[in-house]
C-alpha cells in the first residue's frame, strides 16, 4: 500500500507511523506502525472501534498529538512536504489551509460567543490576505455551498441558533474556506440523525467531486464508509489489520476482525430475527497488548502459535488488498465462504480445516 518517497499521484503518504503516549501506567501504543496513502481527490475510510487509534493517527497528521506529549515516529509526506519534520509555523500554515478537519461534535468545535460568519472570516484571514468584506461575501457563498438556507441571514447568527445538522454544515463550510486538498472527517455524522447524516454524506461526496478534494473518513459505521470511501483500512489496537478497495473489502474480507464487524451489525434487509454474532470480549488495553496477534484473545480462528507470532500485512490476492492474519489464504477463503453462506464460526473453522486446533476465545464479557 505504501511506497518509498512520494510517487506522483499521491497526495498523502503515511509510512510506519507510530504514536506513543507515556502515562503513569505505562506506554500507550496508540498507533503502532501504520502506512497508507491517499490520492488527490481520493477517499479513504478508516474503520475501527474506540481505542483502535483511528482518531490519534488523524490528529497526528496535522500535528495535534505532538503538542500533547506524544512520541511520534515514521514519515508523513503531504504534497511533497514531510509534516513530521515541519516546524510549528509550517504546520500552522498547513492546518486549516491545505488540510482541514471536521469533528464529531460540531457544537464543541464552534465558539459559542462568536457569530458563525465571524468564525468563517477568521478561518480565511488566518491563512490569506483577504479584506473583511470579501471574506464575508465568501462566507455567505460557503454557507450556501454547504446547503444552509438563507445564508445571508444565517451568517450573522450564533452557533446556538443553528440545529445540529446546520452546525455540522457550518463546520464543513469552515473547513472548506481555504479550499483544502485534504479533508479529514472524524465521525462527522455520528451525533446526527440518520436523515441529516444522509444529507451530510451526500454533501461531502458532492464537494469531493466538484472541488477535487481528498477525504479521509474516520468512522465506526460500516454503512457510512461504504457510502463514501473508495479504499478502506480496518484498524485494531493501533494497527491496520486489513486494507482494500471498498468493494473488495465488503465482498471478500480476509481478516477475522473484519468478518466480526460485518456480522455484528443488524441490517435492513434479509430475514429478521436471526441472532447477531458479536465479537466476544472487548478491545484490548493499548498499554499491555496481547502477545502475538493482538486479536487472538477474541478470535474464533486463532491457532496456538498465533499467541506468539506477530502477523505482518501480507498481500491478500487483489491489488491494494493487504491483511495481517496468520491463517493462510486458503483457510481464510474457506472460512469466509462458510460465514457468507450463513454458517457459524464453528462450521467456518471446520471448513477451513482448523476446527480441532483453535484456541477458544477467552470468555470476557464486553
Amino acid at each position: 500500500m505504501s511506497s518509498a518517497g512520494q510517487p506522483p499521484g499521491t497526495l498523502l503518504s503515511v509510512e510506519d507511523l507510530r504514536v506513543e503516549f507515556a502515562t503513569p501506567d505505562g506506554i500507550v501504543h496508540a498507533v503502532d506502525g501504520i502506512s497508507y496513502s491517499v490520492a488527490p481527490g481520493g477517499s479513504l475510510g478508516v474503520v475501527g472501534e474506540s481505542g483502535s487509534g483511528k482518531t490519534v493517527s488523524a490528529l497526528t497528521l496535522i500535528g495535534l498529538t505532538q503538542t500533547q506529549g506524544a512520541t511520534v515516529s515514521g514519515r508523513i509526506m503531504f504534497d511533497g512536504r514531510d509534516l513530521l519534520a515541519a516546524s510549528n509555523a509550517e504546520l500552522r500554515a498547513v492546518r486549516g489551509n491545505d488540510i482541514a478537519m471536521i469533528f464529531q461534535d460540531p457544537l464543541s468545535s464552534l465558539h459559542p460567543q462568536f457569530r458563525v460568519g465571524a468564525q468563517l472570516i477568521e478561518a480565511m484571514q488566518v491563512h490569506r490576505d483577504i479584506k473583511r468584506q470579501a471574506a464575508r461575501d465568501r462566507a455567505i457563498d460557503l454557507l450556501s455551498l454547504v446547503g444552509i438556507p438563507d445564508p445571508r441571514g444565517r451568517v450573522d447568527q450564533f452557533p446556538h441558533e443553528f440545529s445540529g445538522g446546520m452546525r455540522q454544515r457550518a463546520m464543513i463550510a469552515m473547513a472548506l474556506a481555504n479550499e483544502p486538498k485534504l479533508l479529514i472527517a472524524d465521525e462527522p455524522t455520528t451525533a446526527l440523525d440518520v436523515t441529516v447524516q444522509a444529507q451530510i454524506l451526500a454533501l461531502l461526496e458532492r464537494l469531493r467531486r466538484e472541488l477535487g478534494m481528498a477525504i479521509i473518513m474516520i468512522t465506526h459505521d460500516l454503512g457510512v464508509v461504504a457510502q463514501i470511501a473508495d479504499h478502506i483500512a480496518v484498524m485494531y489496537a493501533g494497527r491496520i489489520v486489513e486494507a482494500a478497495d471498498a468493494r473488495r473489502l465488503f465482498s471478500a474480507p480476509q481478516h477475522p476482525y473484519t468478518w466480526g464487524l460485518l456480522r455484528s451489525i443488524p441490517t435492513l434487509e434479509g430475514p429478521r430475527g436471526i441472532e447477531l454474532v458479536p465479537i466476544p470480549g472487548r478491545p484490548p488495553s493499548l498499554i499491555r497488548r496481547p502477545t502475538g496477534c493482538h486479536f487472538h484473545p477474541r478470535c474464533a480462528y486463532a491457532l496456538p502459535d498465533h499467541k506468539t507470532i506477530d502477523p505482518r500485512l501480507v498481500d491478500a490476492g487483489a491489488p491494494g488488498h493487504v491483511v495481517a492474519c496468520l491463517l493462510d489464504a486458503d483457510q481464510r477463503a474457506a472460512a469466509w465462504a462458510a460465514l457468507r453462506a450463513g454458517q457459524s464460526a464453528d462450521e467456518a473453522t471446520a471448513a477451513a480445516g482448523i476446527a480441532d486446533a483453535t484456541i477458544a476465545p477467552t470468555e470476557v464479557a464486553g
Binding site: E49, S50, P149, S163, G164, G165, M166, D193, V194, T195, V196, Q197, A198, Q199, L201, A202, H220, D221, L222, G223, V224, A226, Q227, I228, A246, R247, F250, G260, L261, L262, S264, I265, P266, T267, L268, E269, G270, P271, R272, G273, E275, L276, V277, P278, I279, P280, R282, P283, A365, G366
Partner: protein, 347 residues
C-alpha cells in the same frame, strides 16, 4: 412470543412543556408540544419499537409511561388499570412492574457506589430481601445472568467498560422481576461489536423472563432486529405503526420511506443508489406545521396536506399510517432498492 392482552395502553397522550417569559412575572407564551396526542398499546410479551429523529418525542413518551413526567392530557393504562395520575404508594408499586434501561452507561450509574449496591438499590428502595446475605446472593445471580463476573460485586463503575456498564444497567432493571422494560437507546453509545452483545443479551432475557419491552432507538436496523412492531414518530405524533416485517418491506407513510432511504447500507454496490434525501430540518415542536406535520418536507405534498391533519388509518397487513398519499406498492422498488422481497419473511 404470544401476543396476549395489552400490558400497556396509551390513549391520547399529550405532554406540552410551557415556554415562559419573564423572571418575576412569569407568563406562558407558548408550549413545546413534545408529545401531541398519541395512541398505542403494547401486548404482553412483545417488543414495541419507537423510532424517530431527535425531538420527535420518543424519550418523552418513555418518561410519561414510567410516570417520570406528568402528562398534560391523555390516559395510560397498565394491566387494564388507569395509572395516569396515581401517586405515592401505588405509584411506587407500579414502578416495581416497569423498569428503564438508559442510553448512557456512564451517567446512569452512581460513580461512588459499588456495582453490588447499585444493582441492589431496587431491593433497598422497595424493602425487599432484608435478610442478611439474601441481597448479595440475588445480586450475584443477576450479575452472572447478564454476563458479569459475580466476584466483581465490590467494584466501582469506573472499573468497567461501556458494554459491561450497560450489562449492570440491565441487571438493575431485572432486579425486581418487572413486567415491562423500557430501553431508551440502550446501545447507541456502544461500539458495534459490543452493541451486538447487548442486543443479544436483551433478547435472551426477554425470552427467559417473559418480558414486555418498549425499545427506543434512532437506528432503524437495530429496531428492526429487536422489535415485533414499530411506531415511527414525527414531531410528537405517531406517523406509522406497523409490524416490523411489513414496515421495512412496505413502509406506507412518506416520512417512514424517507427515513429508510437515508440509512447507509454496508454495501458499496448499493452506495451509488438514487436516494430521495429529505431536505431541511425537523420544524420546531413549539410551532408545528399545519395539517400533516411532515408536509413541508414531503415529496408527494398535495393541497389537503397543508390543511387537514391525517389520522392513523388501517392500510392492511397490520399497518396504520397517518398519510393522505401513502406510498404504493408500485412505488416501492424505486424508493427503496434494498428492500428485497422480504415482505413474507417471518421470524
Amino acid at each position: 412470543m404470544s401476543a396476549g392482552e395489552p400490558l400497556l395502553e396509551v390513549r391520547g397522550l399529550v405532554k406540552h412543556f410551557p415556554i415562559s417569559k419573564g423572571i418575576v412575572l412569569k407568563r406562558s407564551i407558548g408550549a413545546v408540544r413534545a408529545v401531541d396526542g398519541i395512541d398505542f398499546e403494547v401486548m404482553s410479551g412483545e417488543t414495541l419499537g419507537l423510532v424517530g429523529e431527535t425531538g420527535c418525542g420518543k424519550s418523552t413518551t418513555a418518561r410519561l409511561v414510567t410516570r417520570l413526567l406528568e402528562p398534560t392530557a391523555g390516559e395510560i393504562r397498565f394491566e387494564g388499570r388507569d395509572i395516569t395520575h396515581v401517586k405515592g404508594a401505588s405509584l411506587k408499586a407500579i414502578r416495581r412492574e416497569m423498569q428503564m434501561i438508559f442510553q448512557d452507561p456512564y451517567s446512569s450509574l452512581n460513580p461512588r457506589k459499588t456495582i453490588g449496591s447499585i444493582i441492589a438499590s431496587p431491593f433497598a428502595i422497595h424493602g425487599l430481601l432484608t435478610e442478611s446475605g439474601e441481597r448479595k446472593k440475588r445480586v450475584q445471580e443477576l450479575m452472572d445472568r447478564v454476563g458479569l463476573n459475580p466476584e466483581h460485586y465490590n467494584r466501582y463503575p469506573h472499573e468497567f467498560s461501556g458494554g459491561q456498564r450497560q450489562r449492570i444497567g440491565v441487571a438493575r432493571a431485572l432486579a425486581l422481576n418487572p413486567k415491562l422494560i423500557i430501553a431508551d437507546e440502550p446501545v447507541s453509545a456502544l461500539d458495534v461489536s459490543i452493541q451486538a452483545q447487548i442486543l443479544n443479551l436483551l433478547r435472551e432475557i426477554q425470552r427467559e423472563f417473559g418480558l414486555t419491552m418498549v425499545f427506543i432507538a434512532h437506528d432503524l436496523a437495530v429496531v428492526r432486529h429487536m422489535c415485533d412492531r414499530v411506531a415511527v414518530m414525527y414531531l410528537g405524533k405517531i406517523a406509522e405503526l406497523a409490524p416490523s416485517d411489513t414496515l421495512y418491506s412496505l413502509p406506507r407513510h412518506r416520512y417512514t420511506g424517507a427515513l429508510m432511504s437515508a440509512v447507509p447500507i454496508a454495501d458499496p454496490e448499493l452506495a451509488g443508489r438514487e436516494r430521495r434525501l429529505l431536505t431541511g430540518d425537523v420544524p420546531s415542536p413549539a410551532n408545528p406545521p399545519s395539517g400533516c406535520r411532515f408536509h413541508p418536507r414531503c415529496s408527494a405534498m398535495g393541497e389537503i396536506c397543508a390543511t387537514e391533519e391525517p389520522q392513523l388509518r388501517d392500510m392492511g397487513h397490520g399497518t396504520f399510517a397517518a398519510c393522505h398519499f401513502p406510498i404504493t406498492e408500485e412505488e416501492m422498488p424505486a424508493l427503496l432498492p434494498m428492500a428485497r422481497e422480504s415482505a413474507g419473511g417471518v421470524e
